[in-house]
């Protein structure tokens, strides 16, 4: 069976930060309007809708799934629709699901949307972790701290390595006009950051934000006359680790180690071909683990890899040139897709990576259970 080529036709997003007085629905519709305008398309062209509501609004309101509420508000009667359930991997998996639907002819123009009022909603990320909340297991930081401690114990990784990731993100964001946190960070500032769950301090954690972002995917045969330079979906993949914390591998490796190299290979690429790495950066440790999982360096060498500003602006591999979740804003992962598209279009202005042709976008979610990989090309 031949599959239709899928391209990204439009991207858009709201401001990110504390947006008092707004609602998630209001932000999502703004992002959709902007993405549609960027694509040069009209509301009547949309025949697919996949959504990624953040943790504060959740995937259901009562019995109503999120895509129904957003689709009703936008007056849509799509041929394909749904809401993703992969936690932080949901933005990337929404693109993936849309690409599969378009590729197999179920729809032709699909809107993928993330939105939430996570900052203005108290305790968005302070949730109890199931049965293990009986032991004080709360939130995402403690969970990733368990992985960070393993990395330190197994490989001699130090907090200074984590600091490199945070410092690079802030340096990138200083060049991103819409970023939520644009003040630079240095090692002294990192060391002064208060501990949340050792060894992770506040500076190891991503932002919490109000905001929304949207991406329009389109069948290549429908793009004649559209204004933006098309960005192609080259490959995508997923891998999950659904075992319990009893699995001895759980805190040592990410499912990205399985889907990362495989997805790159599906596009005929290796890590060395990636010009723009948009890695899901909920915590600094997750960036190190992904650099290893995707094959940018060997297992255990993530700390050495990032040392000396190598993932910062002008580094050998700039990671998240917009600042990512750590400094641009918590956009679920959809802002990562938006930035990849801007870099490949060559419209990232003061932070443009010269000659960017291949972008890798990742999503990582839940209790380190889920991973999604997207490869985009110019």
């Amino acid at each position: 069976m031949t599959s239709r080529q899928v391209i990204v036709a439009g991207v858009g997003h709201t401001a990110f930060g504390r947006l008092t007085g707004r609602t998630a629905l209001d932000l999502e519709t703004e992002a959709c309007r902007l993405a549609l305008r960027d694509a040069g398309l009209a509301p009547g062209d949309i025949d697919g809708l996949i959504t990624d509501p953040g943790p504060a609004q959740g995937v259901l309101q009562g019995i109503e799934p999120h895509y129904v509420r957003l689709g009703r508000t936008l007056g849509l009667a799509p041929d394909f629709a749904g809401t993703e359930l992969l936690g932080g991997a949901s933005s990337v998996s929404s693109i993936q699901r849309a690409a599969m639907a378009i590729g197999s002819g179920l729809c032709s123009v699909c809107l993928c949307v993330y939105g939430d009022m996570a900052l203005s909603t108290e305790g968005s990320f302070a949730y109890p972790r199931g049965e293990e909340a009986a032991f004080g297991f709360f939130g995402a930081t403690g969970l990733h701290a368990l992985a960070a401690r393993r990395h330190m114990a197994r490989f001699g990784t130090r907090r200074e390595h984590f600091a490199e990731v945070a410092i690079a993100a802030r340096a990138h964001a200083a060049r991103t006009p819409h970023a939520q946190l644009r003040t630079p960070l240095d090692i002294d500032g990192y060391r002064a950051s208060r501990m949340i769950a050792e060894p992770l301090c506040l500076a190891d954690c991503c932002l919490v934000s109000d905001g929304a972002a949207a991406v329009v995917l389109c069948a290549a045969d429908r793009t004649a006359g559209l204004p933006a330079r098309p960005v192609r979906v080259l490959a995508h993949g997923q891998a999950h680790s659904l075992g319990t914390f009893s699995n001895p591998e759980h805190f040592d490796t990410l499912p990205a180690a399985r889907c990362g190299p495989v997805t790159l290979a599906r596009a005929g690429l290796t890590a060395g071909d990636v010009d723009v790495a948009m890695l899901y950066d909920c915590f600094t440790i997750v960036v190190l683990m992904q650099l290893e999982a995707y094959g940018f360096c060997k297992p255990g060498e993530g700390g050495d890899f990032v040392t000396g500003g190598r993932i910062g602006p002008g580094g050998a591999l700039p990671v998240n040139p917009s600042g990512g979740l750590m400094a641009e804003g918590y956009g679920g992962g959809m802002l990562h897709v938006v930035e990849a598209v801007r870099q490949l279009r060559g419209t990232a202005e003061g932070r443009q990576i010269a000659g960017a042709e291949i972008a890798l976008v990742s999503g990582h979610g839940l209790a380190m259970n889920t991973h999604a990989t997207l490869i985009l090309g110019r």
């Binding site: 009986a134 032991f135 004080g136 075992g243 914390f245």
Partner: protein, 144 residues
């Protein structure tokens, strides 16, 4: 962090009667696993029994919570993944020592503690493990 078991408390009294830490044991393939579930994750057999464990193991990884998330858990406290001697791992707390003294690989032994209306298997440094000539039994370690 842990509420001391008060002698007059009925919950505290039942702590003393906890037999010991148990894991699910697959009667088809012998797999030991936690948490207890109705099917073996390796062979999917539903013939699942229980096996008493030594209650001893080591800290596979841990974090010291410094931020308060819940009024019942004032920081600092140690959340850890314990690798039990028999194989299964479980999330628990390390108690009975300064949080800063916890290390990956540290030997620990189970200690049942009443928390609210539940009795939870927590872990404390395993003094016996540090001394191979020790004649202390698991039960004695549990009652430290």
């Amino acid at each position: 962090m842990t509420r001391p078991a008060r002698p007059e408390s009925p919950v505290a009294a039942s702590v003393e009667t906890v037999a010991g830490l148990e894991a699910a044991a697959c009667r088809a393939c012998g797999k030991l696993f936690l948490p207890v579930a109705p099917v073996c994750p390796d062979c999917w057999s539903n013939r699942i029994g229980r096996r008493r464990l030594s209650g001893r193991g080591e800290v596979a990884t841990f974090t010291i919570y410094r931020q308060a998330y819940d009024a019942d858990f004032p920081p600092p406290y140690v959340l850890a993944v314990i690798a039990l001697r028999e194989g299964p791992r479980m999330v628990s707390n390390v108690i009975g020592c300064a949080p800063e003294s916890v290390r990956v690989g540290m030997k620990v032994a189970v200690r049942f503690v009443a928390r609210g209306d539940r009795i939870l298997p927590l872990f404390a440094p395993d003094v016996g493990a540090a001394d191979p000539d020790s004649t202390r039994t698991d039960e004695e370690n549990q009652r430290d």
